[in-house]
């Protein structure tokens, strides 16, 4: 069975079928992109898979667990992390603290262990700080570690959110337009990091309009249009697919 298996997923909003009977399987270690015009259902599919929206039909399984019945934090604890197009940070916390808070939300440390600060917990905290610093370096925010997240630009918040998604070391990473509002040079760095995660065996599902990113790093591309899957295949085939050209690339 695939690591992530979406079967016949349906989501409707006020009579509009945003996701219409979509099947999608992502194998362990795969790097798959999901593309399609604005409003084709990509983010809605992410929302249904990660517990932010209740599906109207169909199922989504991660390692056999039915995600469509779980709230977001339960999905996250299974090892699924995601980023959002609309980033939200804790504006008064520093960039570093934002990453640590994000990690805490995903750990189920015993309350007593937190209160008496066991050596194990102290070690975990030290490791988390170390990891957070490495991730800040990765996204070019090292000198902003102690700056209030509220003082970061929109693009920098996007980068912080990307780093936050990597904090819990997820097995499946769902990235929603990570490259939007990000400088091209940093996009290259992001690309190499996604590829590095892929080499480590992580599974990535990417929603992105930046075709340089999608075509360069994806093993497989799935195309949605009006909520339906209209094509699926390796990047080169997708680039030449007449239905995809008509629905998405234009010109």
């Amino acid at each position: 069975m695939a690591l992530l298996e979406v079967r016949g997923l349906v989501k409707r909003f006020l009579g509009v079928t945003a996701v219409d009977q979509v099947d999608l399987a992502v194998e362990p270690g795969e790097l798959v992109s999901l593309i399609g015009p604005n409003g084709s259902g990509k983010t809605t599919l992410f929302n249904c898979v990660t517990g932010y929206l209740a599906a109207d039909g169909g199922r989504a399984f991660f390692r056999g667990n039915d995600l469509t019945t779980l709230p977001p934090h339960r999905v996250a604890r299974l090892g699924v992390a995601r980023t959002f197009q609309q980033v939200s940070v804790f504006p008064r916390l520093s960039a570093l603290e934002n990453l640590l808070v994000f990690l805490q939300q995903h750990q189920e440390e015993h309350l007593l262990a937190r209160l008496i600060r066991t050596p194990r917990l102290q070690r975990l905290e030290a490791e988390a700080v170390e990891r957070a610093r490495r991730l800040l370096e990765l996204v070019g925010l090292t000198d902003k570690a102690d700056a209030a997240a509220g003082s970061l630009s929109y693009g920098q918040r996007k980068l912080l959110a990307f780093a936050a998604a990597l904090m819990p070391d997820p097995d499946l990473l769902l990235l929603d337009e990570p490259a939007a509002a990000v400088n091209p040079t940093m996009i290259n760095q992001m690309k190499s990091h996604i590829l590095a995660l892929h080499r480590q065996g992580k599974t990535v599902l990417l929603v992105e309009h930046n075709m340089e990113v999608v075509m360069d790093i994806s093993q497989r591309v799935v195309v949605l249009d009006h909520g339906q899957k209209i094509a699926e295949g390796p990047p080169d085939a997708i680039r030449r697919d007449s239905r995809v050209i008509e629905a998405y690339f234009g010109r």
């Binding site: 399609g36 015009p37 604005n38 409003g39 197009q85 070019g140 902003k144 700056a147 003082s151 970061l152 630009s153 929109y154 693009g155 920098q156 996007k158 980068l159 337009e177 939007a180 509002a181 990000v182 400088n183 091209p184 040079t185 940093m186 996009i187 290259n188 309009h209 075709m211 340089e212 998405y248 690339f249 234009g250 010109r251």
Partner: protein, 244 residues
Amino acid sequence: MAADGSALGGALLDLREVVAGYEEVEVLRGVSLAVRAGEIVCIIGANGAGKSTLLRTVFGMLQPRAGAIRFAGEDIASRSSMEVLRRGIGYVPQGRCNFAAMSVEENLEMGAYLRRDPRVRSDIEALLARFPMLATKRRELAGTLSGGQQQILEMAIALLLHPRLLMVDEPSLGLDPRMVEIVFDTLLAINREGTTVLMVEQNAKKALSVSHRGFVLELGRNRFEGTGRELLDNPEVRQHYLGG
């Protein structure tokens, strides 16, 4: 080329050594930049370089701590946004923020609230005729439009005040490839009709390819400037700001 945009005489918008920021954070550390009437100028640079802050400062949302901002020869550095708007500068902020619970047509009416003249109605009709994708949605709520349609609506709203200078922050943000083309084509058309355009864009290659001139900011200072072509061909700019 010297990274100093202040050498232009008769610029429509002229910033000299502008310093601005938020509370204790200094974002612009002496930026100079000039936009001539009729140009499309883009500002590119790393995340956090101060690009959006520059537009906000010109629009009177931030008071510069030092330096001068002149528009059509007049000092506007201490003007409020409303006064800047009245002088002919339109601004479409990042991330689009039209009134989601109002219809497309109502959004346009809101955009014209500064105007008292009788031609508002016919201007709105002209804009709807010009942007058919808005006309077909005129009674629909702006919040139900796609990202690209919302971006076009924002530009249409800004155009209602007939700005001499239109400032747009990341017009291509979150748009699919076809819509990116439509939005850039729209900006080019607006420019051809006489409106000067100053944009901030992370889709830097695309932006430079349609711009007369560009500026590269780095950590709140000027780093490079030149024609769009010059910047696209500059190996250092390519490597550090255009992703190679």
